[in-house]
């Protein structure tokens, strides 16, 4: 271990344990979430959904519903004049017009004085459907003659990609060893505990206000304005406290926002719309399902030569962000190790199932499962220690990866070593299985929107000498705001409790592309740092003019060369009087330089990359197939850790979600119908399922991130899947290649193996 590396383990006392007061509001039950909101005169909106996976709408009869007492509006698609919308393709309408494409597709909506009446009104709507043949399997959907979902996607191909780097053909020919595997992963829901909820309020002068908690309010605001044909400045989003997001709420549920807005505009009264848990599952935007066929070529000594991936992802009925997620899924893992030759094909296929979106880590974890499984298969064949194989090939500081990612800081090999040491890699307990897995994740994207690579923030000195920060970066429990306050406190040299932050109103917060792509600390935090530094400079400037001599700011006040001091409140007051009311403000804008990113997707995509290696220790019951996770060690390089308590929280939560992904979760379908559409049947881990999780942070300063920090929130989940799959395979000697690794799957794998013997 290099001596400059500072490893934090266990409960080390630290000054980096800051939480905002919002935590206490949550703990004491006082926080106001979206589902708590009530406005005077508020109506309740409900959506009528298609019971068929594929059908033509011959007619929607709203008359009876409209005549019901208490019903204020009923809408169907054919009477609206909205533009089609979508993050990647404009393939969705607020309410379907001629066709429905999955069980759950939005067909009509009502607003009534209470929820019961709204539900009754849905029953009174008559829809005449003509059933169409439907297709649920991706391979069948690509076959000739399959039912077609969208004219713009012939052959049901929503997106495809063919990519070659280097000369994979030659590498596969000359390699000492080629290992191959097929893997499958189902749709997985982010399962935030607060279902999506929105109160839409409209008045012709002020415009439309949406009270809803969403990870990217500014993007949603622009999209809603566009669909409803309103000026952007007449749309405002105010966020209550968010009950979890985990990437599933980056754009929340656009249908809910648009339909509640349409109803509010129609009725002239606020309309509240909240998804039921069942609606979340059948008509939310879960992470795509994937079938992955992959090959890895290596030399006898374990040097990786090439990788080939054939990926088929299940788009469902509409695309949301499925193309972007498919892309990350197919390629991000290529940059964990030095792999000179790559061949990738991706086909994103439309089916008459729930549309898909994203979840924490954007598919990187799905790729991790397949790729890290393959690596262990290779290690076994080569007779190499899986740890040694990874140490030999893992990417290092200063390298440029096969896709052009510039690695300016990287402690991956230290992470591998630390995770292995801590789990007892070389002191294995009999009867247990051990697995290791590594990951890279981009912190902030330079290419997601090439024009919006960075972030901005304001810092304002209040008249009482305290500081308020304005940021567009949302905090939904991950601790972003606490970290931002610590960054500002450090830049200003004042105590964190003198600072508050506000981000929840598109009217007052600077524009942000949102809480996604692990950009908040790295990019949003940098903007906060710059804003605070600017404020500090302006405070000093004002004070110097007041005192007529040079000053320094320290310990929360200003001191001059001759020893005169000024409190911040005195400076704020003087500035107020000089300007007849203004406050001193600092503007921070962080604009990372542009990336040369070519048409093949080659080029640097982020300002910083985070790394992680996880190890898993498991026990497998060979008779029942039950997997018991004993321990997960999560070693992370996220640069300098700014707030240890939040960082550890991210690891505990992300690892737990990764364990759900690995062993418990996943959509079950009967044709197009989701079978496990409740939290009773869709089994996320409960508190009792959480094993011993050990976070380790290898802290090395990143040259770009604020005070050396890099992102952490998404990568925490990534290596879990590979580590668990490898640990199970290590315990059994048999590999399960389909997620989730349930007891029954393990049992089946054992039976199949026994049959083959």
């Amino acid at each position: 271990m290099p001596t400059e590396t500072d490893i934090i383990t266990g409960d080390r006392k630290t000054d980096r344990g800051f939480q905002t007061p919002e935590v206490w509001a949550k703990i004491t039950g006082k926080a106001i979430y979206g589902i708590d909101l009530k406005l005077p005169g508020m109506l309740y909106g409900k959506i009528l959904r298609s019971p068929h996976p594929h059908a033509r709408i011959m007619g929607v009869d709203l008359e009876q519903a409209r005549r019901m007492p208490g019903v204020r509006a009923a809408l169907a698609g054919d009477e609206l004049s909205c533009k089609p919308f979508g993050m990647v393709y404009k393939d969705e309408l607020p309410l379907a017009i001629d066709r429905v494409r999955y069980i759950g597709d939005e067909v009509a909506a009502v607003a009534a004085i209470d929820e019961k009446i709204a539900l009754k009104a849905l029953e009174a709507i008559n829809v005449d459907y003509e059933l169409l043949p439907a297709v649920f399997d991706t391979e069948e959907a690509m076959a000739p003659g399959a039912p077609q979902l969208h004219d713009q996607h012939p052959g049901n191909l929503a997106w495809q990609r063919e990519l070659t780097r280097g000369n994979p053909e030659a590498a596969f020919k000359t390699a000492d060893l080629v290992v191959e595997g097929s893997f499958s992963v189902p749709q997985v829901h982010a399962a935030y505990l607060e279902p999506i909820c929105c109160v839409a309020d409209y008045d012709p002068y002020g415009g439309l206000t949406l009270h809803t908690a969403v990870q990217s309010p500014d993007i949603v605001r622009e999209l809603v304005a566009d669909v409803l044909d309103l000026p952007v400045s007449k749309v405002r989003i105010i966020g209550p406290v968010m009950g979890g997001g985990f990437g599933g709420r980056v754009y929340g549920n656009l249908k809910v926002y648009i339909i509640s807005s349409l109803l509010a505009i129609r009725c002239g009264r606020p309309v509240r719309m909240q998804l039921t848990r069942q609606e979340e599952f059948i008509a939310g935007r879960p992470m795509i399902a994937a079938k992955i066929r992959a090959k890895l070529a290596l030399n006898q000594d374990g040097t990786i030569l090439a990788r080939a991936v054939d990926l088929i992802t299940d788009n469902g009925a509409y695309s949301a962000q499925a193309p972007w997620v498919s892309k990350t899924l197919s390629e991000r893992n290529d940059s964990v190790y030095r792999i000179p030759n790559i061949r990738t094909t991706v086909r994103l296929v439309c089916t008459n199932k729930v549309p898909t979106g994203q979840y924490r880590a954007y598919g990187n974890q799905v790729g991790n499962f397949a790729m890290e499984s393959l690596l262990d298969m290779a290690a076994k064949k080569l007779g190499l220690d899986p740890l040694e194989l990874r140490l030999k090939n893992c990417v290092k500081k200063g390298e440029v990866t096969v896709h052009g990612l510039r690695i300016n800081s990287c402690a991956l090999s230290d992470c591998l070593q630390a995770a292995a040491d801590e789990i007892g890699w070389h002191k294995r307990k009999p009867g247990r299985g051990y697995g290791i897995s590594a990951a890279i994740h981009a912190g902030g994207s330079l290419v997601f929107d090439k024009n919006m690579r960075g972030a901005s923030a304001y810092a304002r000195l209040e008249y009482d000498g305290r500081v308020t920060l304005f940021s567009g970066e949302q905090d939904y429990g991950q601790g972003t705001h606490a970290t931002f306050i610590l960054i500002a406190a450090r830049a200003l040299g004042i105590e964190p409790d003198q600072i508050i932050i506000y981000s929840r109103d598109t009217l007052t917060s600077p524009f942000s592309i949102g809480a996604l792509a692990m950009r908040q600390t790295t990019i949003g935090g940098k903007a906060i740092q710059l804003a605070a530094e600017k404020l500090r400079e302006k405070i000093a400037q004002t004070a110097a003019e007041m005192l007529g001599e040079p000053v320094v700011m320290e310990g929360g006040r200003v001191r001059s060369a001759t020893g005169k001091t000024l409190e911040l409140s005195e400076i704020a007051a003087d500035y107020r009087f000089q300007t007849s009311g203004l406050s001193i403000t600092g503007e921070g804008k962080y604009v990372p330089s542009e990336s040369a990113y070519d048409d093949t997707g080659y080029g640097n995509i982020a300002v910083a990359y985070s790394f992680a290696a996880h190890t898993a220790e498991v026990e497998v019951d060979r008779e029942t197939g039950e997997v018991k996770i004993i321990r997960i060690v999560a070693a992370h390089d996220s640069g300098r850790i700014l707030n240890l308590i939040s960082a550890r929280g991210q690891v505990y939560g992300g690892v737990t979600q990764g364990l759900g992904y690995s062993c418990q979760e996943g959509y079950l379908f009967d044709g197009g119908r989701v079978l496990n559409d409740s939290l009773a049947d869709y089994r996320i881990p409960t508190a009792l399922d959480v094993p011993d999780i050990m976070p380790i942070f290898i802290e090395q300063d990143d040259p770009e991130g604020p005070f050396g920090a890099k992102g952490l929130g998404e990568i925490v989940m990534v290596p879990v899947l590979g580590a668990v799959a490898n640990a199970v395979a290590d315990a059994l000697g048999i590999r399960v290649t389909d997620l989730p690794i349930t007891a029954e799957r393990v049992y089946q794998a054992i039976v199949e193996w026994e049959c083959e013997q």
């Binding site: 009967d670 079978l675 496990n676 409960t686 009792l688 049992y747």
Partner: protein, 287 residues
């Protein structure tokens, strides 16, 4: 809606009698609250007569209103009816165990209710009192009318307590289950065994598994095969195979396949037999 908390038996009976059809007994409410609640509820969770845990002359009396959490905490139950302790410890989640009761577990009539499976293996009988004052004592299995349907009308009759013979020396019991997660998941399969050992051989066996039939399912064939057998691994293996042959199980896309459930039942049967036999030997040693 009316809600009455009753504290003695007379109160329950007169309330059931006077309040007519739509007044229903509620204990922990963990099942009842999932349905549409009836107009009138009679809360028996403080009914002293239904809260007993005691041994009287070779018989264990276990109140129907005893919660799973209380059952788990009772040293007497752990000593005498270990299968029940093990079953109660795995019901639902800590919150469900703090509220849910043994009586409710049986009357709710879910096919794989954990406590019911253990009670059936222990040979427990249920003592019931009708509002007319009539009492009767019946086998656990007789309390079931169909899938998720009890033979007891909880608007007319109170399940007061369970009685279990605890006088047999050299007996032991065990329970095991497998579920998709550590809490808040119904078992994919569960099994309980009670057995009595003499001269290192099985003299009597009661073996119960679920979910197979609407009620906890006794495996009579497998039981008879076991009587007279020595306490060796071979016996448990054979019993597992016999149990798999004896049960007719269903599978579902949501939970697990029929094949896997059958396999699990075999594994669990072998395990509860072995554990129960070990306990019987220990009990003998202590006696």
């Amino acid at each position: 809606m009316s809600y009455q908390v009753v504290s003695n038996l007379e109160q329950v009976l007169s309330a059931l009698k006077n309040r007519g059809e739509n007044s229903r007994i509620i204990a922990g409410g963990t099942d009842l609250f999932l349905e549409k609640l009836p107009e009138k509820l009679l809360d028996i969770s403080a009914l002293a007569e239904a809260l007993v845990i005691e041994e009287r002359g070779g018989t264990m009396l276990i109140g129907a209103a005893v919660t799973h959490a209380r059952a788990v905490a009772s040293p007497l139950l752990a000593k005498k009816v270990k299968a029940l302790t093990e079953a109660c410890a795995q019901v639902g989640s800590p919150q469900v165990r703090n509220l849910g009761t043994l009586g409710g577990n049986v009357i709710n009539a879910a096919p794989a209710a954990d406590a019911a499976v253990a009670l059936a293996a222990l040979g427990a009988k249920a003592e019931l009192i009708h509002y007319s004052g009539n009492t009767r004592t019946v086998e656990i299995e007789e309390l079931y009318a169909g899938f998720n349907c009890s033979a007891i009308d909880s608007c007319q009759e109170l399940l007061l307590r369970f009685v279990v013979n605890s006088s047999d020396s050299g007996s032991g019991s065990a329970f095991a289950r497998l579920a998709a997660r550590k809490s808040l998941a119904l078992p994919l399969a569960n099994a309980a065994a009670w057995l009595r050992v003499e001269h290192n051989c099985l003299q009597e066996v009661r073996l119960v598994v679920a979910p197979v039939k609407p009620a906890p399912t006794r495996l009579f064939k497998t039981e008879s095969l076991l009587v007279g057998r020595p306490l060796i691994a071979e016996s448990w293996r054979e019993a597992a195979g016999a149990a798999m042959d004896e049960v007719e199980v269903r599978g579902s896309l949501l939970r697990c396949s029929a094949d896997y459930r059958r396999h699990l039942i075999g594994v669990l049967v072998g395990r509860v037999l072995e554990t129960a036999a070990g306990r019987a030997l220990t009990a003998k040693g202590e006696a």
